[in-house]
């Protein structure tokens, strides 16, 4: 944090290779996360309903739902903090940065909370489609944020350093 709030061109330039390596792994994480959900059948409404929809009499939903949200929020939290903070110290237009972080956060919250709709209101229509759409949007915006950070982090430092 101290490095991020006190950036100077030389430090940013030195930090560029490890930051890019981190961003490459962040991109791999996003791709792997999507592949994992696809492999578990969680990218189709029927598959999602089979995994996460509460059985009759299961008042608080299946344990698998709570475990998935527990782990998902952890991943989203660290991705949003790290990639968002890198965008703050990169030469990115504030509008673009806020749009990426804001959209990714909103989509992530919908992705995490949508499966609770049929828990609160059994038979709630369209929750699975909502979750799949939110997950796709979260992945797309986070991936875009990673790409923007990759392309811009330390750019001005390199120019200044000549």
């Amino acid at each position: 944090m101290r490095f991020l709030v006190q950036p100077n061109p030389a430090v940013l330039d030195r930090a560029r290779p490890p930051v890019r390596a981190f961003l490459a792994f962040a991109a791999l994480l996003l791709v792997g996360w999507a592949a994992s959900r696809a492999a578990h059948g969680a990218l189709t409404p029927d598959g999602l309903a089979r995994i996460l929809e509460p059985s009759p009499g299961e008042r608080f939903g299946p344990l698998a739902l709570w475990e998935e949200v527990h782990q998902g929020a952890f991943l989203y939290g660290f991705l949003l903090l790290t990639v968002g903070s890198l965008l703050v110290v990169s030469p990115v237009a504030p509008g673009l940065r806020n749009a990426l972080v804001g959209l990714a956060t909103a989509a992530a919250l919908v992705d995490l909370l949508a499966p609770f709709l049929p828990v609160a209101w059994p038979g709630f229509p369209g929750w699975a489609e909502l979750r799949i759409g939110a997950f796709a949007l979260a992945m797309a915006t986070l991936l875009a944020a990673v790409v923007v950070a990759w392309a811009t982090f330390g750019r001005e430092a390199r120019r200044t350093g000549g």
């Binding site: 944090m1 101290r2 991020l4 709030v5 006190q6 608080f60 344990l63 709570w66 475990e67 949200v69 527990h70 929020a73 952890f74 989203y76 939290g77 660290f78 949003l80 903090l81 790290t82 990639v83 968002g84 903070s85 965008l87 703050v88 940065r97 806020n98 972080v101 804001g102 990714a104 956060t105 992530a108 919250l109 995490l112």
Partner: protein, 175 residues
């Protein structure tokens, strides 16, 4: 007193705080549903129960839960406390006290399951105390983080028990 340099990071920090709140809330639900909030349920969870046909936890089963938490919990605490220390110019002693309680609860919470299962089942209530302590202190840290990044309600945030007086010279928090 809020460090103005952190204001630029309000968006990512607020998103992080929201996600940590979800992690802690779902953790509480999982604890309540899988283990329970009294010593008897904790013992039954670790030692098994004839009434519910639950077998005792194996070492492999305990490690399967403990190992990911040994990375995730310290990482979460390290980042959260680091952000609070940097965002708010904290008073050293209350900050250290709250941080110590949080780290202590996290350590006991992860480790005491092994002790209950293999050494001393009477430690079961300690599991509940450690979990509740971690949840309560994390809630305090998240409130402090929210106070640092949310727009001030009435002027600049006022000095509280943990944060330094605005009259005091700004300094980085150390503990």
């Amino acid at each position: 007193m809020v460090d103005p340099r952190v204001r630029r990071f309000s968006g990512p920090i607020a998103a992080f705080a929201a996600m940590v709140a979800i992690v802690m809330a779902t953790g509480a639900v999982l604890f309540a549903r899988k283990i329970g909030f009294d010593g008897g349920h904790v013992q039954a969870f670790y030692l098994g129960s004839e009434a519910t046909f639950a077998p005792p936890r194996s070492l492999a089963g305990l490690l399967e839960v403990a190992v990911p938490h040994l990375l995730a919990v310290p990482l979460l605490l390290f980042v959260t406390l680091h952000l609070v220390a940097f965002a708010l110019v904290a008073r050293r002693r209350p900050f250290a006290l709250l941080a110590g309680i949080t780290w202590g609860c996290a350590t006991v919470g992860i480790g005491v399951g092994f002790a209950i299962r293999f050494a001393w089942p009477a430690l079961a209530p300690l599991k509940v105390v450690a979990f509740v302590g971690l949840e309560v202190t994390m809630l305090a840290w998240l409130l402090l983080l929210a106070a640092a990044v949310l727009p001030p309600f009435r002027g600049e945030s006022r000095a509280g028990g943990l944060t330094a007086s605005e009259a005091a010279p700004p300094r980085a928090a150390r503990w």
